[in-house]
Amino acid sequence: MAQAEFYRPANLDEACALLTQYGAKAKVIAGGTDLMVAVNRKRLSPEVLIYIGDCGLNYVKMVGDQLVIGAFTTHTELAKSSLVMEKAPLLAEAVGQIGSRAIRNMGTIGGNLVTASPAADGAAALMALDAELKLVSQNGERVFRVESFFTGPGETVRQAHELIKEIIIPPQAAGSKHGWYKLGQRKADVCGAVSAAIVVEMQNGTCRKARIVLGAVAPTPLLAQAAGSKLQGKALDHTVIAEAAQAAANATAPIDDWRATAWYRQRASGAIVKRLLEQISV
């Protein structure tokens, strides 16, 4: 077995230089809560580990009217951040339910995105918030909307020499409401069988815009655009909600696995969207 190496870059430039040097041989490590599970299960044996905890990527701040979050910020920090609670309460709620305390203390938002699990809770919330993420490398920066970042289970547009630097959340319009629900076999330490993140912009009793995101029901977190359109320009009454819920269920392409059957996931998707929209409408 080749001798593995461990690097601890002191800043972003050093980290990028190492990633350019080692490319696909290297694995970035943040909290390690996904990576080390794979290592311990012998599914991964990285030759080079690059720990990004000292690169200054741990922050939550306002830049103009945008909320900017460093990739190395932990779920515990996000869930407790007064800025996040004020500007993007959906994110605080969603990551506040990830795993359990010990997982949230280590797991980071950047790791949640790069793992690209269809069930990633942080990713679903960020997609509903219409967030962007910034990739950096020695070649410069690339910015993607979170919804176009994922290309499949465990796959993203990120290239091996790139790092997520930060996440940018646009200001939420006045009158924005959100809903979050994660359906799992128990409350802690489970991946959702289905999860839903919803942001609805209400103005004078009608919906201006809605983003409905479902987790664990497609190869990537799923933005159910058709479902969102059903709400646009309408008051959230029973008929409209039922239509949107049905559209959301129709958009899913779930699989059978030990967490739930595809049949159940599809039905539950509709039910959860309906329930959340009902809560939002009152």
């Binding site: 390690g32 080390m36 795993g99 305390r101 802690a188 330490d189």
Partner: protein
């Protein structure tokens, strides 16, 4: 092999480790600190819980080198030798431990909770230990133990 320097329960250690060596492996196999247990090695059960700079973490999925220069606490470091932390005393007196396999991790989850919230409600205790599985007790006695310790610590302070 990189050199890891860390402090465990107030003592400094220096060990050679592989990049993917976990903190749990260092504690158990190199330092022979055996209270953190291998229940799953995949981050799911909580038997390997330790405090890293006073934060609850799962040592089985924590890369040891991440603890470089940091302070780790295990059950062995909860109280001075020959003494018991109120949580240890309460777990013993209130039957919060049966087979004992989950106990060290459970005690540290409880310690992390009380450090931040000295007077937790039953629901807060449940949330705080939700990531620590126990197959023996049914949790009721664990929750009782943690609340009893909290009460004792409050009285001691007053």
């Amino acid at each position: 092999m990189p050199m890891l320097e860390l402090r465990v329960n107030g003592r400094d250690y220096r060990v050679l480790v592989e990049p993917t060596t976990t903190l749990l492996e260092v504690l158990r196999e190199k330092l022979l600190i055996i209270s953190p247990k291998v229940g799953c090695n995949t981050g799911d059960c909580g038997t390997c819980s330790v405090l890293l700079e006073d934060k609850l973490v799962r040592s089985c999925i924590t890369v040891a080198l991440v603890a470089q220069g940091k302070e780790v606490t295990t059950v062995e470091g909860l109280a001075a030798p020959g003494e018991l932390h109120p949580l240890q005393k309460a777990f013993h007196e209130h039957y919060g431990s049966q087979c004992g396999f989950c106990t060290p991790g459970m005690l540290l989850a409880a310690k992390a909770l009380l450090d931040e919230n000295p007077n937790p409600t039953e629901d807060e205790v449940k949330e705080a230990i939700a990531g620590n599985l126990c197959r023996c007790t049914g949790y009721v006695k664990i929750i009782e133990s943690i609340r009893a310790a909290a009460a004792e610590m409050a009285t001691a302070k007053a």
